[in-house]
Amino acid sequence: MNPSLPPDSRPDPESAADVGYTLDLVATVCGLTSQTLLLYHEEGLIQPAAGHAPEGYQFDEDTVHRLRQIEYLRNAYGLDLPAIKLTLDLIDEIERLRTELRSHR
């Protein structure tokens, strides 16, 4: 679709769902530094899917999606981290309630 994809976007889409995201990989994919990701983790904005230390952290695709949301809220609205956390918590709650509503049908 786009011949100028950066290296981080090149993985075969067919296998993308099985790719594990290390701290460095998810930082590259999202155009952020590892330090920024660790700060977001400290602030409770993202959680690794597995691993107990930064070098062993494994993130999933929901984290990539979340980081895109975080960056958008920062850049477009100038929100600080507590405000971003509140916004994302509210979005999560809405999604959870919608899922619960579906399960009752």
Binding site: A17, E71, T99
Partner: protein, 317 residues
């Protein structure tokens, strides 16, 4: 279905259809999957009060004043223009996700929704390379697919902002084992094209489990409602219960209660990329007999008499 069918009638009709066309049991496997997804799709619309109100606004043969299709499957054939049609800038339409055009355009249209590429407006003004927006959509996944994983061909139709022409992009999406409801699958570089040499955005497909006639899920756990007779609840019983990957022997303990959950560890969906699996819960539903024969009545009456005599206070000494 009658137009005024109740929610319960719709649910029953769905379960009947889903059972008939479930890919695991249907005689004709070639058409079963499509019919199963059609039933799911219709249930998504008719089982949701708000969506059903929208659908009910138009009679089956009434012309639609706002281009609303009169039937899910007729949507494409009628050539209507939907509010989120691809001719609108920024519209994206998927096929192969398990939702028809009808569902896509009205209830789950892929869109570059509220989170476009970061720094978009500044970049657009400066002419600097800008990464394309991410595109979101839903993908219908059967529980069997969620258990074993699968690869699904997807097509996305959109309008090229520069040429104004409709373009269709086809790609494959790997649904990994353990694709739990609500989880997102990222397809890199298949979202909105970037500008000024910027990279394309990604597609994020949110997994939505197809309604199953026998099982429901919560995270990686699977739930199955198992109907038992009152005497089995009181006395206990050994039964065979279905799971997603074969039947299992199950012991119902004596004195089991209605709604009691029996957990079978490790028979749920896979948890991510680990070997670990969620649990399978059998939820007991005690079924009272709808009618009884004369002989059965005698036994129930004896049981009542016995029970009442037990409840009588002891006579004073």
């Amino acid at each position: 279905m009658q137009r005024d069918a109740s929610a319960e009638e719709i649910k029953k009709a769905f379960r009947k259809l889903a059972r008939k066309h479930h890919p695991d049991v249907a005689a004709d496997k070639t058409t079963a999957e499509e019919k199963f997804k059609e039933a799911n799709e219709a249930y998504e619309v008719l089982g949701d009060p708000e969506k059903r109100r929208k659908y009910d606004r138009l009679g089956p043969d009434e012309p639609s004043h706002d281009g609303f299709p009169t039937s899910p499957r007729g949507a494409g054939a009628r050539g209507f223009r939907a509010p989120t049609d691809a001719s609108d800038a920024g519209g994206f339409h998927f096929t192969g996700t398990g939702f028809s055009d009808f569902f896509e355009q009205y209830f789950a249209s892929g869109d570059s929704y509220g989170f476009p590429g970061a720094g978009r407006s500044d970049a657009a003004q400066s002419g600097a390379p800008r990464r394309g927006s991410d595109v979101e959509g839903d993908i219908l996944v059967t529980l069997e697919e969620a258990l074993q994983g699968t690869t699904r061909p997807i097509s996305m139709r959109t309008i090229n902002r520069e040429t104004g022409k409709t373009e269709t992009h086809s790609f494959k999406v790997r649904i990994p084992p353990g694709a739990t409801d609500g989880r997102r699958i990222r397809v890199p570089g298949q979202g909105e094209p970037g500008t000024a040499g910027g990279p394309a955005g990604d597609i994020f497909l949110r997994v939505r489990h197809a309604a199953h006639p026998d099982f429901s899920t919560h995270g990686a756990d699977i739930f199955h409602t198992f109907e038992i007779a009152p005497w089995d609840a009181v006395l206990g019983a050994n039964v065979i219960a279905p799971t997603l990957d074969g039947s299992i022997k199950l012991h119902i303990p004596a004195g089991a209660e209605n709604g009691q959950k029996l957990r079978i560890r490790g028979h749920g969906l896979p948890k991510g990329r680990t070997e670990e699996r969620g649990d399978f819960f059998v939820v007991l539903a005690v079924q009272l007999p709808a009618s009884i024969q004369d002989e059965e009545r005698i036994h129930w009456e004896r049981l009542r008499a016995l029970s009442q005599s037990k409840q009588q206070p002891a006579p004073p000494a």
